[in-house]
Subunit: 197 residues, 2 copies
């Protein structure tokens, strides 16, 4: 029987983040991570499928939280408000993990493969969010467009939030961007023949 | 000296698209494509870096066109209108290539690797569009948010346009989505303490 080692997952995760920051993601092996954590590679693979999962393992939880907040938005909420409830719930989750999020962001920014993975992950969350809106009876293309906008708001607020100089909270930055949206997308009508009335 | 063969590029492109459709992208080699076109592999590589470029080679032209239309939008145009001018110009370009676009879309939808590539390509066009908006003096996060919205509109209108049942033109579908945006993002104010005035 395997002995359960309290805190192994945390120790492995922290060791991985340290090493990714110190020597780069690509130059870090699972053997390095296990050694730094004082554990075996076998223990590492009990918790993570590979080293990338240290960085992306939380994505599923984030997606589920967003989808479930969209589902639970009040029945009268319109598409953008239901989507906003979703990304605000996601932001509240990440807000509790700011130090990790900042460290993670630097590692991802430094590695093209990880930047691609991050973009794909967000595209997958956007697709799930669109699905949750359709479940609420929102038709396409509105569901997809709303989901894409909400995820764009989420990503942009996220990038501001992890920036070294930003002191505001992630949910606050999300709300700010959502409030800006209305002004941003208010387009003057195109030139048309003058109305007769 | 190499002899220039009129129409070689077109013949290779058409042969590739036929084979991708018939037997799948992954099962098609450059040798197959050259054989079908009645040309050599060497000739193929004179025009394309690899088989993927048959599908994605037009992305650079599309991006340049979008960026240049944003740059040339009237000085008084706001961010969303400048971005709209960009994606409308892109749509007008693709409108001339509807048969190719439809065939291409089916091939991409069938191949996960190509779907990822397409998402990355659109992310890169969004980044270039945001850059073009910053050149016009639009600050971030507005520039990035506007660019992401415009590319979401572009992608969604594109998917409708290539669908078998859709008869409207791509630029028309873009304008329809842009007009919907304003209504979509008009959010009721949150509950606040009543204003004193």
């Amino acid at each position: 029987m395997m002995r359960w080692q309290p805190g192994s997952r945390e120790r492995l995760g922290e060791a991985a983040m340290e090493l990714f920051s110190e020597q780069g993601y690509e130059n870090t092996t699972v053997a390095d991570i296990a050694e730094r954590a004082g554990l075996t590679e076998r223990t590492f693979f009990r918790y993570f499928a590979d080293k990338r999962e240290v960085l992306f393992g939380g994505g599923g939880e984030l997606q589920e939280l967003i989808v479930s907040a969209v589902a639970q938005a009040p029945a009268g909420a319109g598409p953008i408000d239901a989507a906003a409830a979703g990304v605000e719930a996601g932001a509240a989750l990440l807000q509790e993990r700011r130090a990790f999020a900042r460290q993670r962001q630097k590692i991802i920014a430094a590695t093209p493969e990880l930047r691609e993975r991050e973009i794909m992950k967000l595209a997958s969350i956007a697709a799930a969010l669109a699905g949750a809106l359709r479940e609420r009876g929102v038709d396409d293309p509105t569901a997809t467009l709303t989901a894409e906008i909400a995820i764009a708001v989420f990503r942009i607020a996220f990038e501001r939030w992890v920036a070294g100089s930003e002191r505001r909270g992630f949910p606050e930055l999300i709300r700010e961007s959502l409030d800006d949206l209305g002004a941003l997308t208010k387009r003057p009508r195109r030139e048309r023949a003058p109305a007769s009335a």
